[in-house]
Amino acid sequence: MGFRRYGNGIAKGMALTFKHLFRKPITTQYPEERLNVSRRTRGTQIIWNRDTCIACSACARACPIGCIDMSTSRGEDKKLKVDNITIDFGLCIFCGLCVEACPVGNAIFLSYNWEYAEYQRSKLVLSNDELLYSNTKQVSGYYHPDVEKTLPEQTLLVNRTNRGKPWD
């Protein structure tokens, strides 16, 4: 122990906080400054592709909370078609199991967008055409490696704060 308890522990701590005064802030100024999220972001919406969907309801069955409501019927050509698909984003936990369950692989996607807010809960329930891909909704690379490659690289704090010294 010896010469250890003379307030030098406090002094050391104070020196460390003082050192941090001259470090770059790690925070970002959110609405103006945006970081790239992961290419596999499980964003806050589910995007459905009507053309490729074979109406097998695998996604609805895979959903742990049952927020996907899908009703199908046989069309005239004996093929299954989707009559109605409704997803309640107020319930959805964005676990991505529906995307994994899809047998065709490109009928259901999670979105790359992660900002989604409504004033009413009822507006969070989307169905049919509202679930389709649009300009405001971008497809995420979750479970879709081909999409993943096209998205911008994620901004990482590990890379962002490194300034020459091993840790800074």
Binding site: A15, R39, C95, E153, Q154
Partner: protein, 367 residues
């Protein structure tokens, strides 16, 4: 002459800044001295064990995320291990390594939060907390990279993990691993020798070795009391037997020892990560498993050394798609058993610190 004092009952929580969730501590105080406490829990009880019986095996994975929500990766792991044990699924080697990388990163992240919030309970105005969140953020960034979310990962699957790690993951992880020891040194510089912190933590809330074992305490708490008991070593699972690492233990079992154990475990985790990156083999990450998994009739118990202690899943299968019974051995709940013995006789401020040093997560306590 003695003054007659009247004990009074005070409710710490359920909404209180340092109960780390919705926990209620009914304390009987004599002035500032705690005479008796009664933990009252259940405010976050969601009946996860019951919900799990109503869903199929795969749908329960996102549910396990919600146990200890600051260490979701570590919750996924024992559950998938239990199912793999039950259904006898072999896991590819690369997947085992990825799982360990994730579990160890999660351990660092969880301990950072534990130490940071302990410092907060001590009254440092969020500074150590902020510094530790910086590193936690880096780890969470990497988790986001592999599985797309920052809190509830839902990453492990039966027979592996859901995705292979992306190409840019390993360089970023290397960078993290190489800088992490420096940051841990900084935390030590900030906290470990601080006289006020020492006065607040040393000798406070001592949990003797015998009592710790008797109370089924696990994880850093048990090791701080001087028991060299780490599931990774004593009941080695996954590929932990291929790594060199030590089990940090302390002697007395006070709050400072628990803090020290956590700090040192972070260093050991960094060591494991370094080795895991080196040894990471190429190959598949997910074995072929039927989506409608029906394990044979039987039962299995798989446990891991989660950041908070021994986290185990006891599964009973009746050869249907859904588990017949899922029991979670939650370290947070069982560690709380020892709280009463540790707190009584200390001051109110110490009670908060002792509670903070246990490091519980209410999602796991109440389930």
């Amino acid at each position: 002459m003695t003054l007659k004092t009247e004990p009074f009952v005070i409710n710490l929580g359920p909404v209180h800044p340092s109960t780390h969730g919705v926990f209620r501590l009914r304390a009987t105080l004599d002035g500032e001295v705690v005479m008796d406490i009664e933990p009252i829990i259940g405010y976050l009880h969601r009946g996860i064990e019951k919900i799990a019986e109503g869903r199929n095996y795969k749908q329960d994975i996102p549910l396990t995320d919600r146990l200890d929500y600051v260490a979701s990766m570590s919750n996924n792991l024992p559950y998938v291990m239990a199912v793999e044990k039950l259904a006898e699924i072999a896991v590819p080697e690369r997947a085992e390594y990825i799982r360990i990388i994730m579990a160890e990163m999660q351990r660092i992240a969880s301990h950072l939060l534990a130490v940071g919030s302990l410092a907060n309970d001590l009254g440092t105005f969020f500074t150590p907390f902020q510094y530790m969140f910086r590193e936690r953020e880096k780890i969470v960034d990497l988790f986001e990279m592999v599985c797309g979310q920052r809190l509830l990962y839902n990453y492990m699957r039966f027979g592996g993990v859901s995705h292979d790690i992306p190409d840019e993951f390993i360089p970023a992880l290397c960078k993290l691993v190489s800088t992490m020891p420096g940051f841990i040194d900084e935390y030590d510089q900030l906290l470990a020798e601080n006289e006020i912190l020492l006065a607040r933590l040393k000798g406070v809330g001592i949990l003797p070795k015998e009592l710790a074992i008797n109370s089924s305490v696990s994880g850093p708490m048990l090791r701080a009391s001087g028991v060299e008991w780490d599931i990774r070593k004593v009941d080695s699972y996954s590929v932990y037997d291929r790594f060199n690492f030590d089990i940090p233990t302390e002697v007395i079992g006070d709050c400072y020892d628990r803090y020290r154990v956590r700090i040192q475990e972070m260093r050991q985790s960094v060591r494991i990560l370094e080795q895991a990156i080196e040894q990471l083999p190429p190959g598949e990450v997910l074995a072929k498993v039927s989506p409608r998994l029906k394990p044979p009739v039987g039962e299995a118990y798989a446990h891991i050394e989660a950041p908070k202690g021994e986290l185990g899943f006891y599964l009973v299968s009746d050869n249907s798609e859904k588990p017949y019974r899922l029991h979670i051995r939650a370290p947070s709940l069982i560690n709380l058993t020892a709280l009463r013995e540790m707190v009584i006789g200390w001051k109110l401020a110490d009670a908060i610190v002792i509670f903070g040093s246990i490091d519980i997560c209410l999602g796991e306590v109440d389930r």
